[in-house]
Subunit: 404 residues, 2 copies
């Protein structure tokens, strides 16, 4: 075709407009750099489904202490992150209300008590309370629950409103920041060498975005991107989840005043009350390869939610959603630069694999990516480097002239 | 306002474009008369939700033998009704496959066996079969069911496709038949006397439709219509129901080959397989005044459906719908002319209150209304006259000249 392809130039190109990509773009924009987010459907993937629990403490799993540190750091960054976005945190749905972890049967209570042991060892504040005390906090909880644990430090945000705010703020910063096209691959200084300096992004509409730094933040799509270094293995797998949205009728409001995370006969269920009078119930974890809403998943969520909160049966079911989260072998993100033959590959940063923690980890991912862009050394998050599952980079290819 | 109000003239005006109103309009159009259907959202009410079971036999309730006769008559009219509409019955989703009634526990089996007693006394064909035989017919049925009964005579139709076909055929008959405006009331020969001859319909956009006969077929909306005879009591009440639509994945097709009606610990649940690979699961009956999808209703349907057919958990949930059906005190329709002081009021026919049976009863309602319009005497359906709950008509008002 004779038509000239469109080309843009920005300081930083972010592939992927989920909460992670948008959060990074916002940090970049605030630093005075120009930024473009490349996504055909911003905030339409896992972000669209996410309940938005900011549960660094409650989400602690055994032997995931490195991840805990990352989550706590991000949790601490959250108030500042929200302040940077909105004059009133209400606009983002950010609420610093507590989280109540409740067990349905005796074994569930014991599992939560055991977890509390690990949480306390890690210096985290978790208070065991009686069922009676839990029902003072949340009167509609079933009297049949076996026990409850309060975590004052675990809060919530509304991912849909949060990402809406970021997009509005990016626009207000004078940046026509979001390009609604799918990225096809990375562009390199030496087009024959996928380990050479990254210089931009090619898009499926034939246009290109030239950038000093490219951030790969498109979740499960990251591994399918063209032009990744050949030795880089991004072991992402889809972990599907069903999530429900329900409307609380007038006479039942407030249904809950804080997030309730339950363990019901060994299966987790979360109830997250929004300020708009809706309730989010999540979330199943399925690795069955099916990205559609599962009747069995919806059934399980409604069943288990009613065990904890019988009034759920009286709510209006307004939305059922299924999405895939990008899982990794160690449940930790793929975050940082990628090693090449001669040190890290210039111009390339990866930020994906956030699994269940994308919303919580957005501020720390944004901060860390900006530090990498600014060349500030920060070794705290070395354990999350995206090349930790990769073979060693091959020896530098001998560049044959004329390709740079 | 100086603008002249639009006015149309037809032979017959039908208020309400649900399956009943459209079916009546189709019979009228075939008789060579002009017809207009007045509805802001045709086929958008109970018809939109309906599963479309044509279950005259299975729907028999104790002491509702008069209704049974009406249902059987309509069931017999169905093949001809479908033939009149579509060269291929597939287009309407009409399927003459059997219905299998199954019980979950011993009490459910007994209830179905007791009902079979009444059915057989009424000359209906219901065959008790073993669970093993039921699972030969439908291999995915749970081996835990307690018993099964085959009704060869109960079939199904797809109400959405059926009403789509009727609207297409009305258009093909050269009639711009559907007026997408809400009716406000009846027009009378004597505008001061709501028991005088009905001459047309007033619409909320200010226009009018003049007609020789007006059929009131707008379901629950009928009682709220202006200009009804004052002595006419239409005791309609909304009976809400939740209904689910699910997609059967390739590897589970065919999930069922016929309609399965279950009784699960005393609660009915219906599973209706469509030729397009979807499954309809219905239907709750709620009189809680809530027209929105109930989380408890969805839960109950998924729970009970899985008891009969465990593979339901593997389906995709694609739609949850709630609608109100127009219930009456005796569960029978309000169908026929309305008595006035001097015999039946001319120009007025009522066809509403079809409750759970609107789809099944459409052909007989259409036939009966056309007979009334044509002045053919048929006393078979006298028991369903719409004025059976009404006080006697007042003595004829003395007409003061100049109003006709």
């Amino acid at each position: 075709m004779s038509e000239r392809r469109a080309q843009r130039t920005v300081d930083v190109a972010v592939i992927g407009g989920g909460v992670i990509g948008l959060g990074i773009a916002w940090a970049v924009a605030q630093s005075g750099r120009t930024v473009a987010v490349i996504d055909p459907d911003p905030a339409g993937g896992a972000t669209f489904a996410a309940a938005g629990m900011l549960a660094a403490v409650s989400e602690l799993h055994y032997q995931e202490e490195a991840l805990l540190e990352l989550m706590l750091a991000s949790s601490n960054l959250y108030p500042g992150f929200i302040d940077s976005l909105a004059p009133d945190s209400y606009l983002t749905g950010y609420q610093r209300t507590r989280t109540l972890n409740v067990g349905a049967d005796a074994a569930d209570r014991q599992a939560l008590a055991d977890l509390r042991g690990v949480q306390v060892v890690n210096g985290l504040g978790v208070e065991a309370i009686t069922v009676r005390a839990a029902r003072v906090l949340e009167p509609l909880l079933s009297p049949q629950i076996s026990g409850a644990f309060v975590v004052e430090q675990d809060h919530q945000v509304d991912p849909r409103r949060l990402t809406e705010c970021i997009q509005l703020e990016l626009a207000r910063h004078g940046q026509d920041a979001v390009i609604r096209v799918q990225a096809s691959g990375l562009l390199h200084e030496n087009s024959a060498d996928a380990s050479s300096r990254v210089t931009g992004v090619a898009l499926f509409d034939g246009s290109t975005v030239t950038a000093t730094e490219v951030v790969v933040a498109n979740g499960l799509g990251a591994a399918a991107l063209g032009g990744l270094p050949e030795h880089l293995n991004l072991p992402l797998r889809p972990v599907y989840g069903d999530i429900l949205r329900l409307r609380v009728p007038e006479h039942l409001q407030p249904l809950l005043t804080c997030t309730v995370r339950g363990l019901v006969h060994g299966v987790p269920v979360y109830l997250v009350p929004r300020t708009d009078g809706t309730l989010v119930i999540g979330a199943t974890q399925r690795e069955d390869g099916s990205g559609v809403v599962s009747a069995g998943g919806v059934y399980q969520l409604l069943r288990d939610a009613q065990v904890l909160l019988p009034a759920v049966s009286e709510l209006e079911l307004i939305e059922t959603t299924a999405r895939a989260r990008p899982g990794t072998p160690d449940n930790a993100p793929l975050l940082g630069r990628v090693g090449g033959a001669d040190g890290d590959i210039s111009g390339l940063i990866v930020a994906t694999g956030f699994f269940r923690h994308g919303v919580l980890l957005t501020p720390v991912a944004a901060e860390h990516c900006l530090q990498l862009i600014e060349g500030i050394a920060d070794d705290r998050w070395r354990a999350f480097r995206p090349d930790r599952f990769s073979s060693r980079a091959p020896a530098s290819v001998s560049l044959k002239g004329g390709h740079s």
